[in-house]
Each structure stands twice: as structure tokens, then as C-alpha cells.
């Protein structure tokens, strides 16, 4: 909405539930939001939509940094719908007028936020990896990669409110939960037509091979052409399991049919920012780098000393991955057993 920007105050984050649990991206958003709210000396609130929302989930948001939690609980909100969730969020924004509203760049965030931004006619920046407050103006500075990380752009929304952004998962670590934190819970309800959606949920089918979405994994162990065969992904799964991570892949590996598309990292796949990215037998085409160069630490194993991947790595082993990987599995298992 264009208008009197000074009426809009406070920072809001969209809480996300998967099934009955709060997903960790909600806490990452609160860590971003806490920093922004403290700079602006304003309140941080989280929004939670769903059905039979537990008190524990609400308190978890408070313990991770929220001063207030707005809760809208209704059977029609049990499953995400773009228009149903969009209309509820619009109502909340019109009543409480937040200055900043952020959501995680998940399939929910990246669907409902553009719908909501269109409903209230404000600006929205996608998949930010950095958020800050401009000192002079107090405006939200939204920094994001584009063209596969080729270019970084900082964007702001001067005259419209709220200033909206989606934020890349894993771009910030959640704050430690503080059980002594107290917050206010505001429960709202609306006429049923606000909850109604034209989209009807039928069912959710869990992908048994996808333990965790690769975008949200702390560790990603990825394989490429150098794996030579789909069954060789098994050893990457072993490493990933030992490190508590997920398995990714280059486009070549996906195109060969070795692993489903949901594992593809890169310009035409997923973008990941894990704490640790291990590239096994991946040469490092720029299109692949586009999807993982924002990882905190990058490790590469490749037999070609001139492989591009080594240029963006923090640690590299020039060698045969079929020698390295089994030893790594053995040693990680030993370390794990020692610590038990």
C-alpha cells in the first residue's frame, strides 16, 4: 500500500508449520527479524496460521525471539492455500500495519508472498541472503543474488508498506531458545469467506528418498559425472547420513537419471547455502556454482587438478573419489563411535 509510511511499525515474520511442527526456517527468520527490530527499536512479531496450533509451537516462537505472536486457527487453514493464507495475512496487515514483513523462501513463502504483495500492492524482493536497515532512512535494505550469483543487488521499497521480502533458508542461524522470554499472544478470527480458497487440498505424499529438503540441510554431499553410475550415490548417502546432511547432485547426474531432479543444485535446480558443501566428482560448471557458492564452507574431491570447483573451494583433494569416499566413511564412522 502506498500512503502514510509512518503509520507502519514493527517487524513481522511468517511462521511455518510442517505437519504439526514449527519448521526451523521460522526460527531463522526470527533471528533476521530480531536484528532488524533491535536496530529500529521496535517490536518483532511472528504470524502463525493453521489448525489446532499447539501452545508449545507458539511459545517456541517467543523463545526464539518473537515479542508477539499473532495466531489464526481454523480448520480451513490446516493446509496451505495461496489465496486463503493471502487473505488472512492481508487482513492482519491492514489492521496492525507492520513496516516489514518477511517469509522464508520456501515453496510456501515464495507462493504466498507474491500473492499477498499483489493483493496489497507493495514491493517484494525474492530470496534475499542479506537484510539490513539503512541508517538515515530506517528503510529495509534487501540484498539478493541474481543471474546465478553473478550479480548481487541491494533493493529497497521506499514508499510502499509493508516492505516485503523472502529470505533464503540457512542464510542465518536461529537464536538459542530462551525459556525465560515472555511474549504476548494475539488470537484473531475472521468470517469464513476470508479462509476459503479456490484451491482444494487432497493429500500430501512424502518422498521417502528425500530425508530433508536439500535447501534446508546443514550439510550437502553432492555428486556429479565423476560418480560414473547412479548406484555410486549410495556412498554419498552414507557420508551424508554420518554428517547429518542431505545428498545433492549436478545437472549431469540428474540428466543421466542417477538421482531425481529434487536433488539438483544449480541454476536450473535448487540453490543451497549449507554450512558445509562437499562436491564429489563435480567439475564446477558456472551453472552449478550458481546454486552452491553461498555455502559457508566448500570441500571438493576431484581427480582433475584444473577442475573449476577447486577455485571456489576452501579445501580440495585432488584424487580419485572412489579411493577417498570409502576412507572418509570409515573414519567418520570411527569418530562417531568414539564420541558415543
Amino acid at each position: 500500500m502506498k500512503g502514510n509510511v509512518s503509520e507502519y511499525k514493527g517487524v513481522w515474520t511468517l511462521g511455518e508449520q510442517r505437519g504439526k511442527e514449527i519448521s526451523s526456517v521460522s526460527y531463522e527468520l526470527l533471528a533476521w527479524g530480531r536484528g532488524l527490530a533491535d536496530k529500529l527499536k521496535t517490536e518483532l512479531s511472528s504470524i502463525l496460521l493453521g489448525h489446532k496450533i499447539s501452545e508449545e509451537n507458539i511459545q517456541n516462537l517467543i523463545q526464539h525471539g518473537a515479542d508477539k505472536v499473532y495466531v489464526v486457527d481454523h480448520p480451513l487453514l490446516e493446509h496451505f492455500t495461496p489465496d486463503g493464507y493471502g487473505k488472512v495475512l492481508k487482513k492482519l496487515i491492514e489492521e496492525y500495519k507492520p513496516s516489514i514483513m518477511i517469509a522464508s523462501a520456501t515453496t510456501i513463502g515464495r507462493t504466498v508472498m507474491p500473492v499477498l504483495a499483489a493483493m496489497i500492492e507493495t514491493g517484494l524482493t525474492a530470496d534475499c541472503t542479506g537484510l539490513d536497515i539503512e541508517e538515515k532512512t530506517g528503510l529495509l535494505l534487501q540484498t539478493r543474488p541474481a543471474i546465478g550469483g553473478n550479480v548481487m543487488a541491494t533493493i529497497k521499497t521506499p514508499d510502499h508498506r509493508p516492505q516485503m521480502a523472502t529470505v533464503r533458508p540457512k542464510s542465518k542461524r536461529p537464536l538459542q531458545a530462551d525459556a525465560s522470554r515472555k511474549g504476548e499472544v494475539i488470537r484473531k478470527s475472521y468470517p469464513e469467506d476470508i479462509y476459503n480458497s479456490k484451491v482444494r487440498f487432497i493429500k500430501f505424499v512424502k518422498d521417502e528418498t528425500a530425508e530433508a529438503p536439500i535447501q534446508e540441510a546443514e550439510v550437502v554431499v553432492a555428486g556429479g559425472k565423476g560418480l560414473k553410475d547412479g548406484k555410486n550415490f549410495d556412498i554419498l548417502y552414507e557420508i551424508a547420513t554420518l554428517l547429518g546432511g542431505a545428498v545433492g547432485a549436478s545437472r549431469q547426474a540428474v540428466d543421466m537419471g542417477w538421482i531425481p531432479y529434487s536433488h539438483q543444485v544449480g541454476l536450473s535446480g535448487k540453490t543451497v547455502s549449507p554450512r558445509l558443501y562437499i562436491a564429489m566428482g563435480i567439475s564446477g560448471a558456472v551453472q552449478h556454482l550458481a546454486g552452491m557458492s553461498s555455502a559457508e564452507t566448500i570441500v571438493a574431491v576431484n581427480s582433475d587438478p584444473d577442475a573449476n570447483i577447486f577455485k571456489v573451494s576452501d579445501f580440495g583433494i585432488v584424487g580419485d573419489l572412489f579411493d577417498i569416499a570409502p576412507i572418509l566413511v570409515k573414519r567418520l564412522r570411527e569418530i562417531k563411535n568414539q564420541r558415543k
Binding site: P82, T107, R110, A118, A146, N150, K311, I327
Partner: protein, 264 residues
């Protein structure tokens, strides 16, 4: 059935290389291509046309500079029936809200579509926001991350949405906006007949005036967001490379490195 499919022209991604000295990515030349992720939307609409017995017409719509006509021709060569290019200097600098406004007005003006297809996102801006925003501005159902169409008839569409940890099945009445992900199909290579048809096709250009757009809602002026800074990140890192070592020793060095970083 009337289908609209939206395509965007983007800088050709295969041309991107890393600058050896600065460690940033460089794009050589000004070559452009149709957004690769939009081709899945084009393919899906052509498959629907092939599958349905009744008459189906596919209209390709793109917004961009005059050269974006090439992206429309690519879609036509794959089997789409006709194309329109929305092109006007007044539209330059549009952000996702202003772009979605312009395209939703175009869709309204051309009229009568049952389905509107888009790709998941464009490989240049990578926002994925224009599709859902168009759906909201047209007030029709928005189905994002669609990996399979399970059922389609004249009243409704039932799809799989690829989401975190699996997929969900949802259905919506027509008209709906559907954005598809890569796993939905394998786009065809156009045959010679398709290419010739596309080459000869007339693609009308629509301007802001043709579409009777509200000039306060288009281009840079109609965009709530402003780019304040652009910079080129350095991708290359200080690397420790272990080469020519016994694999056992190389792994020990790696484990030591990971321990120092508190990653294991």
C-alpha cells in the same frame, strides 16, 4: 480449451564464465535465449493440445524489448499457435508487481483463457514472483511448483505440487494459473516444420496504449521496489588443496580441517 503460456527472454546462461583474475562471473556477449525453465511450460501446454480431442489453442505471451520476439518464435516452433509481444519503452524498469500488472491486463484483454502456464522462475532475475502475482491480480487459483498434471477437464485441474519433503495433490477450478517445475516433462526439440511455421508467423506487438494500461502502475514509475546498489561477488576462495597424497593422509587432513571449522 484456450491456453496462455508466458515466456521471458533471458541472457544465455551457457555463455557465463568465471573471470580468472577477479573470481567473479562474467557474461560474454549479449546473446539471449528463451528462459530454459519456461520451455517446460511450453511443452506441457503442447502436450495438453496433443492429448485433448477438442480444439485447443495455445497463445504465447512475452513482455520485453523487440528482440524478445525470438523467445516467442522458439515457443511457436514447439507447437504453440500464436504469439503476442508486449513491448513499450514505458514498460522499462518494471519490477515483478508492475510486470505482473502488465501481463495480467494483457491476459484479460486477449481474454477467455482456461489455463495460464509459466515456468518456475526466470534464470536471470530468479524471483519466481511474476506468475503468482498475475494469478492474484486476476483473482484466479495459483498452483505453483507443479510437477505433474493428474487430471484436466473443462471444469477443473488436479496437479501434484513438488514441495519440501514430497508432493501434495491439489485441485482447482478453471481458469487457473499453473507454474511448472523442470521434472514435469522433457521439452521437445522443434522439427523443421515447426521452425518454418514459427519463422513465418506474424507476432503482433502490443503497447501500453493498446492495452489501456494505468500509467501509474507500469514501468519503473509503477514499481514499488528500487535497486539501490549492484555489485559483483567474488566467488573464488582461499583454497587449501591436497594433491598427490596417499588417500588415507588426504582424508586425515580433511578431517582436521573440518574439526577446526567445528563442522564435525
Amino acid at each position: 480449451m484456450k491456453i496462455a503460456v508466458l515466456v521471458k527472454q533471458v541472457p544465455a546462461t551457457e555463455k557465463v564464465k568465471m573471470d580468472e583474475k577477479t573470481g567473479t562471473m562474467i557474461r560474454s556477449g549479449t546473446e539471449a535465449e528463451a528462459n530454459p525453465l519456461d520451455m517446460y511450460a511450453v511443452e506441457e501446454s503442447v502436450r495438453i493440445k496433443e492429448r485433448l480431442q477438442e480444439d485447443t489453442e495455445i497463445t504465447v505471451i512475452s513482455m520485453g524489448p523487440p528482440m524478445a520476439i525470438d523467445a516467442i518464435k522458439d515457443a511457436l516452433s514447439m507447437g504453440c499457435d500464436k504469439g503476442y509481444l508486449v513491448s513499450d519503452r514505458a514498460l522499462a524498469g518494471a519490477d515483478t508487481l508492475a510486470t505482473a500488472y502488465t501481463l495480467s491486463k494483457t491476459i484479460e484483454k486477449l481474454g477467455g483463457f482456461d489455463l495460464i502456464f509459466t515456468g518456475e522462475r526466470a534464470t536471470d532475475g530468479e524471483t519466481g514472483q511474476v506468475g503468482p502475482s498475475i494469478g492474484a491480480q486476476l483473482d484466479i487459483p495459483v498452483l505453483t511448483y507443479v510437477s505433474k498434471i493428474e487430471e484436466l477437464n473443462s471444469n477443473l485441474i488436479r496437479v501434484r505440487r513438488a514441495i519440501e519433503g514430497g508432493y501434495e495433490v491439489v485441485e482447482a477450478p478453471l481458469p487457473s494459473l499453473v507454474s511448472v517445475v523442470k521434472e514435469i516433462n522433457e521439452p521437445r526439440i522443434p522439427n523443421l516444420r515447426g521452425k518454418i511455421k514459427a519463422k513465418n508467423a506474424e507476432v503482433p506487438i502490443l503497447t501500453a496504449k493498446d492495452l489501456q494500461l494505468d500509467t501509474t502502475k507500469i514501468g519503473l514509475k509503477g514499481s514499488p521496489t528500487r535497486v539501490v546498489k549492484i555489485f559483483y561477488p567474488k566467488l573464488s576462495r582461499e583454497s587449501k588443496i591436497v594433491s598427490g597424497k596417499d588417500p588415507e593422509l588426504a582424508v586425515e587432513e580433511l578431517l582436521k580441517f573440518l574439526e577446526e571449522k567445528e563442522l564435525i
